[in-house]
């Protein structure tokens, strides 16, 4: 089934999918085909990443899961887990440093690929985001931190919930609400 996405993409080359001029039920069908193909691809990519990670570890690596709705701060794993690993894969042929935004409900210590702590920023999810996601997701906060990923490779960042008294690497931002 690993070529389903290829076929779904091919179907979506029809002119009404490219231009957005299909009837709504046809657009829904295009979306469903792409979703099925994407789900299979994610499973395949997850297996590959899991195998690659296992080579570097004495601990068996599970298959990583993807979160489609990170843009609205929804990710069941990060919202509810005291410990988890973020794996970033970089498809570019050069190293990239970027910022990631993870939906959480607690404060976490972030450890980078070299084992060193990474500075992060913990802030409230905006009201707009809460409205957008409607009934999905329960994260009240976002943890924001920089990641660096090598060319055509991956980096693991480990997040562990902070216990009382533990040194914080995350910094709470200052919030200003100017009076109009």
């Amino acid at each position: 089934n690993s070529d389903y996405l290829k076929k779904a993409e091919a179907v979506a080359q029809h002119h009404d999918a490219v231009s957005g001029t299909s009837k709504q039920h046809v657009a829904d069908d295009y979306a469903e085909r792409l979703y099925i193909g994407r789900t299979q691809c994610k499973s395949l990519i997850g297996s590959v990443l899991g195998n690659l990670m296992e080579k570097n570890s004495s601990v068996p690596a599970p298959t990583p899961e993807f979160c489609d709705y990170l843009n609205v701060s929804v990710c069941p794993i990060t919202e509810n887990s005291p410990e988890f690993t973020v794996t970033a894969y970089n498809p570019l042929a050069r190293a990239v440093t970027t910022i990631v935004r993870i939906p959480v409900n607690f404060n976490y210590a972030v450890t980078g690929p070299s084992g060193k702590p990474v500075t992060s920023q913990l802030q409230d999810v905006s009201m707009g985001t809460k409205e957008v996601r409607r009934s999905h997701g329960n994260a009240s906060k976002e943890l924001i931190f920089p990641i660096t990923v090598p060319q055509l490779g991956f980096s693991n960042y480990v997040l562990k919930v902070l216990q009382k008294g533990e040194a914080k690497t995350s910094i709470l931002p200052k919030v200003y609400k100017p009076q109009s």
Binding site: S58, V59, C75, V100, V158, I171, Y176
Partner: protein, 281 residues
């Protein structure tokens, strides 16, 4: 006035309205006055002389001047300043908000807009744009990409390869924006990179507008047979969120900046998650 800045950019916001007021390139110390806000075109349902309605195929506004979505008082600005990101949250309408972000060591400003559900109960089609109004002297010229590759020069009310007939002053000047568009004068350039294919134009000097979402209530009689009105899972319309990455640079450094950034947006790292602690050794 409120200022947010990083090593490359400084953005000044009007303290009373909360709107963006100016951008400064800190390397060249050059500035532009820039106001960014949202507007909407009312979709035409056709006129006595020409029955063409705005719909899935056709963009035809009733009036060439869009209506503002900023009420003229305040966008209810909240500023959050931290070590990883500085952001300004703006609320234009109950269904329209935006977050403007600056990251350390990044040349661009990120404008994340959230639009929808677009009101529809009054029976009026709405086509929402974001617009950057600057003091750049652009001489009726702007640039859009051809599928993320060559940047093509566009001139208002003009085509290089056929006689231009001005059938609609607004949509007749709209072009596809697949990855980026820019306006510039002799020394300064404002580039907007999109995260999806959109349409846009520069209808007056120094201005760059990009349509972010449309909800029409009439079929345009071009074959689709229904209005462009996606009602979504909850039946009241969809909510759309997207990002524009905005560069303000010298003309000389703009191409290197937007080519590099465009690549990073198009092939961004993919994130996956596991409940697992790897062995560092």
């Amino acid at each position: 006035d409120e200022v947010i800045e990083n090593q490359f950019l400084s953005l000044t916001f009007d303290g009373s309205t909360g709107l963006l007021k100016s951008m400064t390139d800190k390397r060249t110390k050059s500035s532009i006055a820039v106001s960014q806000s949202f507007h909407w075109y009312e979709s035409s349902t056709g006129t006595f002389l020409f029955s063409q309605a705005s719909g899935a195929y056709i963009f035809r506004p009733t009036h060439p001047t869009p209506k503002p979505l900023f009420d003229g008082t305040s966008v209810g600005m909240t500023v959050i300043k931290g070590p990883v990101v500085t952001e300004v949250r703006q609320q234009f309408q109950p269904w329209l908000s935006q977050v403007i972000r600056l990251y350390p060591n990044k040349e661009f400003a990120e404008f994340e807009w959230t639009v929808g559900p677009i009101p529809y109960k009054d029976g009026i089609g709405r086509e929402i744009i974001t617009r950057f109004d600057t003091d750049l002297k652009t001489n009726s010229t702007f640039y859009t990409d051809a599928n993320g590759r060559q940047m093509l020069k566009r001139i208002l009310n003009h085509r290089a390869d056929w006689v231009y007939v001005n059938s609609d002053p607004t949509s007749g000047n709209y072009y596809p924006i697949n990855s980026r568009a820019y306006i510039k004068d002799d020394t300064k350039q404002l580039t907007v990179l999109t995260d999806r294919s959109l349409g846009g134009s520069s209808l007056k000097d120094g201005s760059l507008e990009i349509m972010v979402q449309r909800r029409t209530q009439h079929d345009d009689s071009r074959g689709v047979g229904e209005p462009l009105n996606e009602t979504g899972q909850f039946g009241d319309g969809i909510i759309v969120r997207g990002k524009h990455s905005v560069l303000f640079t010298s003309v000389a450094t703009a191409a290197a900046a937007h080519r590099t950034l465009g690549e990073e947006i198009f092939m961004a790292p993919s994130l996956s998650f596991s409940k697992w602690q790897p062995d560092w050794a």
